[in-house]
């Protein structure tokens, strides 16, 4: 093999006449990129050979056996569309049918905005693609603007607005001490931001904390946004997945709409329809009137054309088949509730297991938080211990994907968390165990 290489290099040199060219490469200055903090976790998990390994890293739903799930409504839709699709290019704005159905989910079946055709909606490459389209649109048409991003947020939000070259600022969100919402600081940041600022809000099931404002808090946020004339961009990646009821999970958006905000919204079917790898979602922007909506949509298409020309059809066909058939839609709603209920059940189980282990720490937040993720409050060092000692994989910010928790592994997980979160170690643990035993005598 080595001989072959030398041989071909000699040939190259002769024809090139520039020896230096082949000793170096154009790419010398290209550094290896850091591993993606979220997707890198699954890679590491897959490489681990331990039989006890647990993946509570990436937010992909698993059933109680830890297996990926394809929803029954999706399987049925697939059989229906098989052989039917001609695979011709979708329009640049994607499947009109899919977008129509998707807007109804976010804005309401009987939304006046939909009736008045005031929403510019385009199919997008899942939630990521929807956020990116918006970020690029924001850059192009409001070049002086910035984006306010909650702390913390899904890591890729920062990448998206950065690559779109929109400057970023943060606003307070998570309150570490209570593992809840830092509402006062959030409202201060909203008030102190210059009028007309752009804010990124998680519509429900905040990622990574699982901490959502209450309905009352949302109303206050909306009111303050009105006073400041801020723009609200909602990333809704978990509609249906948080409470089990899509209408309820859209409540924050509906509050803003009732207050007259002209919002932007990214929607994704990755989780709630289990269509992760299909990359199907939607970007919508509420406009003043139909004319403006048509103009805005045309400009969104203009951004999509040099990125991917037109979006992929398969996932969109599945979505529109399911949502436009009453029986399939009913089945979907049922299945979404099953997934959400299982997660809620696992939250309870994990909290109870930790409490049963006698952990003196408070684990209330596990059941207070909502959606796929639990912000455990564990430090990066504790997370590293979980991985190295217990083969438990999660992101270093202490985020646990509850979707990866099963009745089979919740005990093991609780034990491991207890071990690493416990200051003082074994002795103190035994002391408390004994004490609690005594409390029964």
């Amino acid at each position: 093999m080595a001989g072959k290489m030398v041989f071909s290099c000699t040939i190259c040199r002769k024809s090139a006449g520039n020896d230096l060219r082949f000793m170096s490469s154009w790419w010398n200055h290209v550094e290896p990129a850091p591993k993606d903090p979220i997707l890198g976790v699954t890679e590491a998990f897959l490489a681990d050979t331990s039989p006890n390994k647990v993946n509570v890293g990436v937010g992909a739903y698993r059933d109680d056996k830890g297996k990926p799930v394809v929803l029954e409504c999706v399987r049925q839709a697939e059989r229906r569309i098989s052989g039917n699709e001609k695979m011709e290019y979708l329009p640049m704005g994607g499947s009109v049918k899919m977008v129509e159905e998707t807007l109804k989910l976010a804005y309401g079946e009987n939304s006046d905005l939909i009736k008045d055709k005031r929403i510019a909606g385009v199919q997008a490459l899942s939630g990521t693609g929807a956020c990116r389209l918006f970020a690029d649109f924001q850059k192009r048409f409001r070049p002086e603007s910035q984006i306010y991003i909650p702390t913390p947020t899904w890591a890729n939000h920062l990448n998206i607005w950065r690559d779109a070259q929109v400057p970023q600022r943060t606003f307070h969100y998570y309150h570490p001490e209570s593992r809840g919402l830092d509402f006062a600081a959030l409202m201060d940041d909203v008030k102190n931001a210059p009028n007309g600022s752009f804010f990124l809000l998680h519509a429900c099931a905040h990622n990574p904390t699982g901490v959502d404002p209450s309905e009352e808090q949302w109303k206050e946020i909306s009111y303050q946004f009105k006073a400041k004339n801020h723009f609200a961009f909602f990333d809704m990646a978990y509609q249906g997945f948080a409470s089990g009821d899509p209408e309820r999970d859209a409540r924050a958006i509906r509050i803003f709409l009732e207050d007259g905000h002209m919002i932007g919204c990214a929607q994704s079917y990755a989780k709630n329809m289990g269509l992760y790898g299909q990359r199907v979602g939607c970007l919508s922007i509420v406009c003043e009137d139909e004319k403006q909506a048509v103009a805005v949509k045309s400009q969104l298409q203009q951004i999509a054309r040099p990125m991917y020309s037109n979006p992929p059809v398969h996932g969109a066909l599945l979505v529109s088949t399911i949502l436009s058939d009453p029986d399939l839609k009913k089945l979907w709603l049922k299945e979404v509730k099953v997934m959400a209920d299982r997660i809620i059940g696992m939250r309870t189980a994990l909290r109870e297991s930790l409490e049963k282990l006698g952990s003196p720490l408070s684990w209330e937040h596990i059941t207070n938080q909502i959606g796929m993720f639990c912000y455990s409050g564990m430090s990066p060092e504790q997370v590293d211990r979980l991985t190295q000692e217990f083969h438990i994989y999660m992101t270093r910010n202490g985020r646990i994907s509850m979707a990866g928790v099963t009745t089979g592994n919740v005990g093991y997980l609780a034990n491991a968390i207890h071990e690493v979160s416990f200051v003082g170690g074994q002795k103190l643990y035994l002391a408390i165990k004994v004490t609690s035993l005594f409390s029964f005598l």
């Binding site: 290489m5 071909s8 290099c9 190259c12 024809s15 090139a16 006449g17 490469s25 790419w27 010398n28 200055h29 290209v30 550094e31 990129a33 997707l39 799930v69 394809v70 098989s82 699709e85 695979m87 011709e88 290019y89 329009p91 006046d112 005031r118 490459l125 899942s126 693609g129 990116r132 409001r142 890729n156 998206i160 009028n195 009105k226 006073a227 004339n229 009732e258 207050d259 007259g260 990755a270 269509l275 992760y276 790898g277 299909q278 990359r279 406009c287 003043e288 048509v294 103009a295 805005v296 400009q299 298409q301 951004i303 054309r305 040099p306 990125m307 020309s309 037109n310 992929p312 398969h314």
Partner: protein
């Protein structure tokens, strides 16, 4: 600046906002002082609806937001995709869609390849899950696509010198490469052929990569302006990127001969340029996958580092699945690993990871010897239909046109497209008088032409060419 009067009506629900702000988007800044309701707005044509809000027992009226996208104007229709939309709207029975390059059967129906149907059935039976792909895409697809492009035995594959990342068809793969160029070669520019596929310019513009053109099409010969091409490539600053169509040049259908490719490679090496191939028609041009990849393989065999964007839209008919790949052939496996990692870093904030369906279809077709063989036959068939249509059109034109004009360029050109040499006015005549839809640069898609319509088309072309200026 008008000041507004507010009613203290306690309207409960908000219906619609039609407030208009001035174009510059000066936003309403409202001062909510409970003691004195005092608002200042910059606006004209006030027509604002108000909403009363209860907060802590105080009723206040809140003026609604105006859109901050007030100044967004209507984008022009896409010159290529817009053609199909216009065609759909036309009610004339003779209408012919020679706009977008999507293959049609002789009956002018879209065509789903048999191997694709079989692959999809296999996938359905297996009940594959829908989990996220890794950022770089489906591993089996990436392997298959690199081998298809370079040949399974190519030393660069064995030496792991190819960074392959699944992309959103040709467009998405080109965009990833362009974004990479912008990030790592911020001073470099890309040379693109004149003419080229319309979306190339949009891609480099949006990726903020400067570009300039090299001469390519010679209207006098309706052929390749080879001397112009070579001298423009030579004149560019060293280390430029040169965008080349691997086969079946879009929109002209004019490809360099193999001798000409050798000379192009020589010049590129001399100037230390980086070749950047767009391969959207592998297999579709000549009917042979290997033959259509020969230009790319030539450059690789010279030891050059290069970019290649691939698409399966046409050759597997997977248009709407958006399946393709960006390949970067590097001089070492270490470089390939680093380059791949950075391509992933560009993809993540664009779409996180690519769609799985099309990738699985390709992997299944290429990975199964029987399906792969059947695919090659189907491709030969599709390419063969295009060739026979070219032949018929040429015959019709030669017979009907008494002027003695040489129409043989139709036979010499290759692939889905033909550059007719018609100018914009003549192309408009094709559409307005003859209901033949094509792009304004004179490009017709032969994939949308049937044998039975060749005569009609010949009449239209002859009329437009001779009677319109």
């Amino acid at each position: 600046m008008a000041s507004a009067m507010f009613s203290m009506a306690s309207a409960k629900s908000f219906t619609s906002s039609v407030a208009r702000a001035n174009y510059q988007g000066k936003l309403c800044s409202a001062n909510f002082d409970v003691s004195s309701i005092n608002h200042t707005f910059k606006k004209k044509n006030v027509n604002t609806l108000y909403r009363a809000q209860n907060s802590g027992g105080v009723t206040m009226t809140v003026a609604v937001n105006v859109s901050r996208f007030e100044g967004v104007t209507m984008a022009p229709p896409d010159p290529i995709l817009g053609v199909s939309e216009a065609f759909k709207a036309d009610t004339n029975s003779m209408k012919l869609n020679l706009g977008v390059g999507a293959y049609r059967t002789e009956e002018l129906q879209p065509y789903v390849l048999n191997v694709v149907k079989k692959a999809e059935n296999l996938m359905l039976e297996r009940g594959d899950n829908k989990e996220y792909l890794p950022i770089e895409g489906l591993a089996a697809f990436n392997r298959a696509t690199a081998e298809l492009l370079l040949g399974a035995d190519n030393p660069v594959i064995k030496q792991e010198r190819v960074a392959t990342v699944q992309g959103l068809s040709g467009t998405g793969s080109l965009r990833l490469a362009a974004a990479f160029i912008q990030r790592y070669f911020p001073d470099a520019k890309v040379l693109i052929s004149s003419p080229t596929w319309g979306n190339h310019k949009n891609i480099f513009n949006d990726a903020r990569v400067p570009w300039s053109e090299y001469r390519y099409y010679d209207p006098k010969t309706v052929g390749l302006d080879f001397d112009g091409m070579i001298s423009d490539i030579k004149a560019a600053p060293n280390g430029s990127f040169v965008l080349l169509h691997g086969c079946a040049h879009n929109p002209t259908g004019i490809d360099p001969t193999s001798e000409q490719w050798e000379i192009i490679a020589d010049v590129i090496q001399e100037k230390n340029h980086i070749p950047f191939f767009d391969v959207a028609y592998q297999g579709f041009a000549s009917g042979s996958l290997d033959e259509d990849a020969s230009s790319v393989r030539l450059f690789v065999s010279r030891g050059m580092e290069l970019f290649v964007a691939q698409s399966y839209s046409k050759n597997l008919g997977l248009y709407a699945e958006r399946i393709g790949a960006v390949n970067v052939i590097c001089s070492s496996s270490d470089a390939a690993a680093r380059v791949k990692s950075q391509l992933k870093r560009l993809a993540r904030p664009m779409y996180s990871n690519p769609p799985v369906h099309g990738a699985r279809i390709v992997a299944n077709v290429v990975g199964d010897p029987a399906l792969f063989s059947e695919w090659k036959s189907e491709m030969e068939f599709m390419a063969g239909r295009i060739k026979s249509v070219r032949k018929r059109l040429f015959e019709n034109l030669s017979q009907k046109d008494k002027s003695g004009k040489d129409w043989s360029f139709i036979l010499k050109q290759i692939g889905m497209f033909s550059f007719t040499g018609l100018n914009k006015a003549q192309s408009d005549n094709m559409t307005n008088k003859w209901h033949v839809y094509m792009t304004k640069d004179g490009r017709i898609s032969l994939a949308g032409l049937s044998l039975s319509k060749c005569e009609y088309l010949a009449d239209a072309i002859i009329d437009s060419y001779h009677n319109v200026n």
